[in-house]
């Protein structure tokens, strides 16, 4: 009796396992045969570039495999919404993951998150022209130095490829490594080094509380370590006019301005330039000696650091107050100037208000707020 029972149980187990195996095999076969999208064509910018890819993968990754790097901070998980492209044809309906990241206007003009668009048929897409020039780089962290209590500067030697052509004001996407259960992520940082040094890039990075990337940079990244990045990205750069310049930055927003000023010096661009740098207290200032030296050296350049929270009884002799008030004090009329701003979104919005109030046309205000 017990033997028959055991036999029945064994048969039942064998039957269930067998059925499971057959179903699994069927699903694998179905994935390969039924869901085989074959070769798909991706036409970029009205045929400027055409890719032939195996269907079934997400657009972001198909593009990256073909050396077209769309900015993405989350590595294609549909959570950062940086990887927007226009999918004119073949993208299918907008999915529930990407919908919250797309405004009604963006949905109307075919904008999609490239990490959420599966390539199942031929696609027609539009990407910014500049992305054709973006490359992936491997480098070596040559130097990591503290500029303030919460800002570091990284100097990276480019190794593969070993040079980068960029314009002062552009940025790269730095890739972190996985550490202590945290996923690898990518974040955008403006280059602070001048474009003339093609073999190195320098970045100025402020620690963000609980930030995955900056915790890695501050607590785990060491000199001599290999580092990956892609770039250059962005269109925040000087125009080729002769208009006098107002630079305004705060914190790590110093980076692109520091690159631009040194680039201007090297190229002999002598547009009258005033650089307003806003900080809370003296301990938030950096590069003051270097900028003061440049001010002495270059007749067309003025540096105005301003502190908004410096104790009244301190030895600070410079400007005090919000950077917006200081700019307004120096320039009640900036109708002939161009404004270049980099910093937090709040600071930039407030500065735009001050500059437009002082008659600067909106078309002459350029900013990179990484918002």
């Amino acid at each position: 009796m017990t033997g028959e029972l055991l036999l029945s149980m064994a048969l039942a187990v064998a039957f269930l396992s067998g059925t499971g195996l057959v179903l699994s095999a069927f699903l694998i076969l179905a994935e390969r045969k039924i869901l085989n999208y074959g070769s798909c064509k991706i036409s970029i910018n009205d045929g400027q570039k055409e890719l032939s890819v195996k269907g079934g993968a997400f657009l972001l990754f198909n593009l990256a495999e073909n050396d077209i790097f769309i900015p993405s901070a989350c590595g294609g998980r549909g959570s950062c919404a940086y990887c927007k492209v226009k999918v004119i044809e073949g993208g299918g309906p907008i999915g529930p993951v990407e919908a919250p990241y797309l405004s009604p206007e963006e949905q109307q003009d075919h904008t999609r998150l490239s990490c959420q668009v599966k390539v199942r048929s031929d696609l027609r897409i539009i990407i910014p022209e500049e992305l054709f020039l973006v490359k992936r780089y491997n480098g070596l962290l040559e130097r990591k130095r503290s500029l303030t209590y919460d800002i570091v500067e990284l100097r990276i030697k480019l190794e593969e490829p070993d040079t980068m052509d960029f314009v002062a004001g552009q940025y790269v996407q730095l890739e972190s490594a996985e550490y202590k259960g945290r996923d690898a992520v990518m974040r955008a940082y403006s280059m602070s080094s001048p474009p003339s040094d093609k073999h190195h890039i320098e970045l100025i990075i402020r620690k963000v509380p609980n930030g995955i990337m900056t915790t890695w940079i501050f607590d785990y990244l060491e000199e001599g370590q290999r580092i990956s990045l892609s770039g250059p990205y962005g269109q925040f750069c000087l125009t080729d006019t002769d208009a006098p310049i107002v630079f305004i930055a705060g914190g790590s927003g110093m980076a692109p301005i520091w690159s631009m000023i040194r680039d201007m010096k090297e190229k002999g661009i002598e547009r009258p330039t005033t650089f307003f740098f806003g900080a809370l207290t003296q301990k938030d200032l950096f590069f003051v000696d270097e900028l003061t030296k440049l001010e002495e050296e270059l007749p067309w350049f003025t540096f105005v650091p301003a502190l908004s929270n410096e104790p009244e009884d301190s030895d600070w002799k410079g400007e005090r107050g919000l950077i917006t008030d200081v700019v307004a004090k120096y320039f009640p009329d900036v109708s002939k100037h161009e404004g270049y701003l980099c910093g937090s979104p709040g600071m930039i919005n407030a500065c735009i208000a001050v500059l437009t109030e002082a008659e600067m046309p909106e078309t002459c205000i350029f900013f990179d707020k990484f918002a």
């Binding site: 901070a73 989350c74 590595g75 998980r77 549909g78 959570s79 950062c80 919404a81 529930p96 993951v97 919908a99 919250p100 990241y101 202590k180 259960g181 945290r182 996923d183 992520v185 974040r187 955008a188 402020r206 963000v208 509380p209 609980n210 930030g211 995955i212 915790t215 890695w216 790590s252 927003g253 809370l280 908004s308 929270n309 919000l322 950077i323 917006t324 910093g343 937090s344 979104p345 709040g346 600071m347 407030a350 707020k369 990484f370 918002a371």
Partner: protein, 156 residues
């Protein structure tokens, strides 16, 4: 109790992950549902609605943000400073979108308490009733917040 794949995914996102270096749970080992229900019960006991608390947090956050790093007085004895960061942070809940990274540090000078309000933190309370786990840098302890903002029925 065994977690569903969706719950497992949520708990993974709430821990140290791509969303936050330290995660949203702090040292709290309670399940997500329990954290939410206990915090909402605390509000009920104090006869404060979630909406009123969210409104108070939002007001303080916006007041601090307008001051561009300067200290503002939320009410006598309570001040706030906004610390801005560039970029945006995604919600650990799929499809919720991205939120600005700055934080308003609200200090109750009398009680000596501090709470840190973020745009994502407000959203998590508003949409999910999630005040974050105990020990998390951004947890809004309901009773503490109620005290700081003087919410609830006026004692007779």
């Amino acid at each position: 109790m065994k977690q569903s794949p969706a719950e497992q995914n949520l708990m993974r996102n709430l821990g140290p992950s791509k969303f936050s270096a330290e995660g949203f749970l702090g040292s709290d080992t309670r399940p997500f549902d329990e954290i939410v229900s206990e915090d909402l019960r605390s509000l009920e006991q104090k006869r404060v609605s979630k909406e009123d608390l969210v409104a108070a947090l939002t007001d303080a956050y916006e007041m601090a943000k307008q001051a561009l790093g300067g200290r503002v007085v939320i009410r006598p004895g309570v001040t706030a400073v906004f610390k801005e960061s560039m970029g945006r942070v995604p919600s650990p809940f799929r499809g919720d979108g991205v939120f600005e990274k700055g934080e308003a540090v609200v200090k109750d000078e009398e009680g000596g308490h501090t709470i840190i309000i973020t745009s994502l933190g407000i959203h998590l309370i508003k949409k999910h009733g999630f005040f974050q786990g105990k020990g998390s840098r951004y947890r809004i302890e309901p009773e503490r917040a109620i005290g700081i903002f003087r919410l609830g029925p006026v004692p007779s």
